[in-house]
Symmetry: C2
Subunit: 421 residues, 2 copies
């Protein structure tokens, strides 16, 4: 595996093409072999919908994981880290929506562990082989009576839920369930990849600021798997922003169960696996931005020509998090002035005379001035689309970064001013 | 002056008390002696209101100035810097609202200089003794015909405008004119301080992200004056945030004309001057946040116990710029969870178990958990006020910073989604 890993380090960066294809062609819809799903209607916060989901692997899986970088880490994050260190092979993931179990102290840890113990008893596995994840309101203690009541039917119903059912059960303010799937051939074997995610608010780069769960029936070494998953997340979940906020509960778990018996046997296989995972993650990340709270646009902000990748990320972030840019695009206003003003305060170094900005494929700013054109008539039809490309060349080097961002609307305010009630 | 300057360096930090008094008692309303004002209705963008203002000093003045840190600097910023370097004593300030003259290239510089030449001819002074300032839409060229038509009546009308008239003429999306004034005794002389500012959107720390103009009839050395002005701005205009954006046109000019003949003669005098300027700047900064686009709240975010002042600023900024915190307070929701989540991602270093958060004077979070109380009934009456204090102790050191921030409402979106049209 060591030579394969060395090759991977070189190739993971080069593999995969455009990660932000707007309409990925997914013919695959089946779950990877070796996993079963279940959902239940516990009623933690939402009524008349399922809010508890279980993923069960028939075999112990190679697990790759990514966690929030927020200093406040919710109880399930703490326990998932502990379990990953202790487990010889993850068997299950338990997710609830409506209660975050964050800032809940020792009681929160105790409650979370208790849910794993109950579930482990029902599934006849070790509690440390289960990863917990929670999303919802911060600070309230888990409603343990609802877990006690709903875990037995959840365990009993394994296999009855579809991928879409599970994706729907982990939603909070999401308006639609987010899944993605694809298949590749490795040698004679067919390998499946599937993922689901929830997002909507509190989304900003720095760790998959959302919940994301990836499954595959590939057989793969944990270290290489972690590397591929981290790479895919950096280009997808860590490259989206809705409101610049990040949550205490964000995590992504990727299970590789190995039921296909297929393994990576060379560089070409590796590229295919990397591309497949990139594609699944890119589609999920796009759907998260598409479903941004109150959002009507997906802004694809591509920065090139920065001094380095870090400065490209700063520049893209300043544009993608600027309330003025976001509201302008919501208003279908080709307001290049707000874009360049955001670049100018981003901290990225460049000569204002050297930068070029294109909006929806049309160059709108160069040599320190706006391009001479009838902007309103040129851009009116172009800015009607949901997807708007903002391409920026800083003319200062070869650093690049691409960020997906939502716009900012009255509805975002309405949702977030009254979330708790 | 050297010994006084040395003392100043020590004392400027210690002088002055609470900078963010909600209702500063201004009995002074008169302009400092030696200055005249005029306004005109040019019609750059706004109809039925004045949009051009002139400040004229009877003597050459000591001028302190602060400029935007945005890499894109508007033409008037470039020319004001040049003029300051060349002038032996600033005589006048010319301000227009509606057109920013930013990202307008060489033509923008040429146009701006032309306005100064015309005005200098009318006032019989040097064009380099005039400081220009512009605010409004970025990118369009100045309507020179309107300047040519309106500068002669502007010069002729000097002395006819009040401070409030001038403050009204520099407004863009501001809903009320912002002025502040106070008086102190230095020896037997009475010294007056007066200021006006415009703000509303694109406001974030790092240079007075607004236009601000301060006048005094104090006689003072330029270097000491710059020091006092910079200090006052750091605690006021550089400690407010509305939307995290900063503009290409922000500047603050402070003229000390010397007509009172009063000078600083010792440490006690210096303290009085520093306090007076801090007070004027603090009131103007408060009014800018009070008049935030669509805003209904003024959040006073006081961070203490940070590792250092810089980390305190990062922590306060993360809270004050968080759309989730801003929308929660707009909704009068005591959502401490969003405050601690913002602190956790701010980059400030602390132990989550050690921090304490108070909202509207009531401790709501400590030891990693929310305080046990009936939050809704406790906070319902407290969050009705316009002013809401958020006090944060990070328990990690002695760094501190206080930031004023607005909330985020549907109206901000409406204003900014349709500003150009």
């Amino acid at each position: 595996m060591i030579p394969a890993l060395a090759a991977a380090a070189k190739n993971i960066k080069n593999a995969a093409g455009n990660n932000f294809m707007k309409d990925i062609n997914n013919t695959a819809t089946q779950l990877p072999r070796g996993f079963s799903l279940a959902t239940a209607r516990a009623g933690f916060k939402y009524k008349n919908r399922d809010d508890l989901a279980l993923i069960m692997g028939h075999n112990p899986a190679s697990c790759a994981a990514l966690f929030t970088t927020n200093l406040f880490q919710a109880a399930p994050i703490t326990l998932a880290r502990n379990n990953l260190a202790k487990s010889a092979g993850i068997r299950a993931i338990l997710v609830n929506a409506g209660q975050a179990n964050a800032c809940t102290g020792d009681t929160g840890i105790h409650n979370c562990w208790k849910t794993l113990e109950i579930l482990a008893g029902l599934l006849k596995i070790n509690p440390w082989d289960i990863l917990p994840a929670s999303t919802g309101v911060i600070g309230d203690h888990l409603k343990m009576d609802l877990f006690e009541k709903n875990l037995p039917p959840l365990a009993r119903d394994l296999g009855r839920a579809t991928g879409e059912d599970a994706a729907r059960a982990i939603m909070t303010t999401d308006t639609f369930p987010k899944t993605s799937a694809c298949e590749i051939n490795l040698g004679k074997a067919r390998v499946r990849f599937w993922g689901m995610a929830k997002g909507a608010g509190m989304i900003c780069p720095n760790m998959a600021t959302m919940l994301g769960f990836l499954l595959t029936d590939l057989k793969i070494d944990q270290k290489l798997w972690q590397k591929i998953v981290t790479h895919a997340a950096d280009k997808s979940f860590n490259a989206v922003t809705i409101d610049g906020d990040t949550s205490t509960n964000d995590c992504m778990f990727a299970l590789a169960g190995g039921q296909s018996e297929a393994e990576i046997s060379g560089e070409y296989d590796l590229k295919k696996v990397v591309s497949a995972l990139d594609r699944v993650c890119a589609e999920l990340a796009y759907k998260i931005v598409q479903d941004a709270e109150g959002g009507t646009k997906v802004l694809r902000i591509e920065v090139k020509g920065a001094k380095d990748d870090h400065q490209a990320k700063m520049a893209a972030g300043a544009v993608g998090n600027s309330p003025l840019v976001k509201t302008a695009l919501y208003g279908k206003d080709p307001n290049w002035g707000r874009i360049v003003a955001a670049l100018g305060r981003s901290g990225a170094e460049f000569n204002p005379q050297e930068i070029r900005v294109s909006l929806a494929g049309v160059e709108i700013f160069a040599s320190g001035c706006p391009k001479d054109m009838d902007r309103d008539s040129v851009f009116k039809p172009l800015l009607e689309d949901r997807d708007v490309d903002i391409q920026i060349n800083l003319g200062a080097g070869s650093g690049s970064f691409t960020l997906l961002a939502s716009d900012l609307t009255e509805k975002y305010i309405q949702i977030n001013a009254h979330y708790r009630t």
